[in-house]
Amino acid sequence: MNTRMIVDKAVKYILFISAILSIVIVLAIAFFIFQESIQAWREIGVGEMIFKRVWRPGQDQYGILAMIFGSVAVTFGAIVLGVPLALGTAIFLGEIAPVGVRAILRPAVQLLAGIPSVVYGLFGMVVLVPMVREINVPGNSGYGLLAASIVLAVMILPTITSIAEDAIRAVPDSYRSGSLALGATKWQTITQVVLPAGRSGIIAGIILGVGRALGETMAMIMVIGNSVVFPKPLTKNPLTFFLSQARTLTGNIAVEISYATGVHESALFATGVVLFVLIIVVNASARWLISRQSEVQTTRQG
C-alpha cells in the first residue's frame, strides 16, 4: 500500500517537471537569442539596425530595413493570393461540397500541409521562376517577390483553410435553420449568418497563416533572389515591384549564420529578435482583435 502511494507521488512530481519544461524552454530561447544579440545592439545601435537600408557587414553596415520590408512584402503577397483561395475552399468544404468530394479534398489539403518546404522551394525554382522570367521586363530574373509570394501562398493555404473550415462547421445549425426559415437563400445564409458568426475563428486562421509566412525560411531563400537590395519596382510601372528580388529576415539569418563571426554574428541574432518581436506583435494584435469581436457579438445567455 505504501509503495503504491510513493510511486504515485513520485510520478506526479516527475510529470510536473515535464510540464514546467515548456516554460523553461521559452525562457531559454528568449534568453539566448537576446543575449547573443546584445553585442549588436550595443555596438551598432538599435536605430542604426532597424532603420537603415544598407546591409553590408564587410563595411560595418548592418541596416535590416530592407529585410523587414522584404518579409512584409512577401507576406503581404502571400496573403493577397492565398486568403481568397483558402476562404473559398473553406466555404466550399464547410457548406457546399457533397460528402464524396469532401472526402477527397480534405485529405488533399492535409497533404499540402505536410509537403516539405524545400520541395515547394524546388518546385518554385524549377517551374515558377522560369515562368516569371518570361515576363518581359528588364532586370527580371524570375527570382523575386512574385515567385516567392506564390510559393508562400500555397504553403499557408492549408493552414488557413483547415482552421477556417473548422470555424465554419462550428457555427450551430440552428442559425442556418433560422435564416432559411425566413426566406433567405443558402448563399445569403452563408455570407450573412455563418461567416459573421465564425468570424473570430476565420481571422485566427489567417493570423496563423501570417505567422507561418513571416517565419518561412528555406523555401524563401530558394526563390526570392536573396539580393540585399531594398525591393522596388524595376521600371516605371509600379506593378514591377513584385518582380524585384528581395531578402527576408529569415533568409538573412540562414544564409549568413554559417560564416558570420563577432558583431556580424550578433547582428544575425538581432535579426532573430526583430523577427520574434514582429511575430509576437502580429499574434497579440490578432488575439486582441478577436477578443474585441466576441465582446461585441455576445453577452451572457438568458
Binding site: S177, G183, T298, T299
Partner: protein
C-alpha cells in the same frame, strides 16, 4: 365557415425507406390556431416542416400526395419565396449573434428590402406585435443573445413576423421556457391568430386546450409511422372525442 389555408391530400412522408407519415388528409383553417398533438415521435414536427419545405433540407426526405397552400401546389412554389410567406418559430430560441434590430431586420433585408426608414417601421411594428417592444425599445443595439429565454423567443417571433408571412408554424415554442414566459407566449399566440394562420406543435395538452381553436391528434402504430387519428374543433376533441385512442391520450392513459 372557415377558409382553408393549408390542405393535404393523401400525404405521405418518407425519410429514405422509413415512412414517417401515412395518408394524412387535413384542411387547416385560415386565421385560426391549429394544434398538432400526440405522443413523441409520431411525426408532428415532420408534418409541420412540410409546410415551409424545411424537410427539403433533410437528405433522403421525400413525399407523395398533394399539399396545397392557398389552393396552390406546394411543390410548384419556389421554396425561398414560400418561406417568406410561411414563417417558423423553433423549439429552442435561436436569435442570431447580431443586435436586436439586425435580428428583426434580417428577414426583410434578405428578401430585398433596403429602405432604412421602412426597416425601422417594420422592426417597431414586429416587436409590438410580439409584445416585446416596450422591453427593448431603448436597447435595439443590444445583442439578441443578451435577452432572457422568454424574450429571445418573442424576438424570434418578431423576426418571423417581420417578413409579413400569412402563416406561422410553431414547433413547441414554449418547451424551453419557464411558466410565466410560457403564458406570455400563449397570450401572444391568441392575439396573433387574428391576423395569421397558426399551426403549433405541442407536447403539452393543457396548452393545446388553452391556445388552439382546432386540434389534430396524431398517433403511431407499431411501424412507427405517424397517422392522423382525429381532427376537430379543440372543444370537441377535449370533451367529446370520437376515437378511443384520442380519448386515451387526452385522459393521460398513455403518452
Amino acid at each position: 365557415m372557415n377558409n382553408t389555408k393549408i390542405e393535404t391530400i393523401n400525404y405521405n412522408l418518407y425519410y429514405g425507406k422509413f415512412q414517417a407519415l401515412r395518408d394524412i388528409n387535413i384542411k387547416i383553417p385560415e386565421k385560426k390556431v391549429t394544434a398538432l398533438i400526440g405522443p413523441s415521435g409520431c411525426g408532428k414536427s415532420s408534418f409541420l416542416r412540410t409546410f415551409n419545405r424545411m424537410n427539403d433540407l433533410i437528405p433522403g426526405a421525400s413525399m407523395t400526395g398533394d399539399v396545397l397552400i392557398d389552393d396552390q401546389d406546394l411543390l410548384k412554389i419556389d421554396p425561398v419565396g414560400l418561406r417568406q410567406n410561411v414563417g417558423m418559430v423553433f423549439q429552442k430560441p435561436n436569435p442570431f449573434p447580431k443586435t436586436i434590430f439586425d435580428n428583426i431586420a434580417y428577414g426583410p433585408r434578405v428578401n430585398g428590402l433596403r429602405d432604412h426608414k421602412k426597416l425601422e417601421e417594420i422592426v417597431e411594428s414586429s416587436l409590438k406585435s410580439a409584445a416585446l417592444w416596450d422591453e427593448v425599445k431603448d436597447d435595439l443595439g443590444k445583442s439578441g443573445l443578451a435577452l432572457s429565454g422568454g424574450q429571445q423567443q418573442r424576438l424570434c417571433i418578431a423576426r418571423a413576423l417581420a417578413v409579413q408571412p400569412s402563416v406561422i408554424l410553431m414547433d413547441e415554442p414554449a418547451a424551453s421556457l419557464d411558466p410565466i414566459a410560457t403564458l406570455k407566449i400563449e397570450d401572444l399566440i391568441h392575439e396573433l391568430s387574428q391576423n395569421y394562420t397558426i399551426v403549433i406543435v405541442t407536447h403539452n395538452m393543457q396548452q393545446a386546450g388553452r391556445v388552439s381553436d382546432y386540434t389534430a391528434f396524431f398517433y403511431t402504430d407499431e411501424t412507427r409511422t405517424g397517422r392522423l387519428v382525429e381532427f376537430d374543433a379543440t372543444k370537441t376533441i377535449f370533451t367529446n372525442p370520437t376515437d378511443q385512442r384520442t380519448e386515451d391520450y387526452i385522459t393521460g392513459r398513455f403518452g
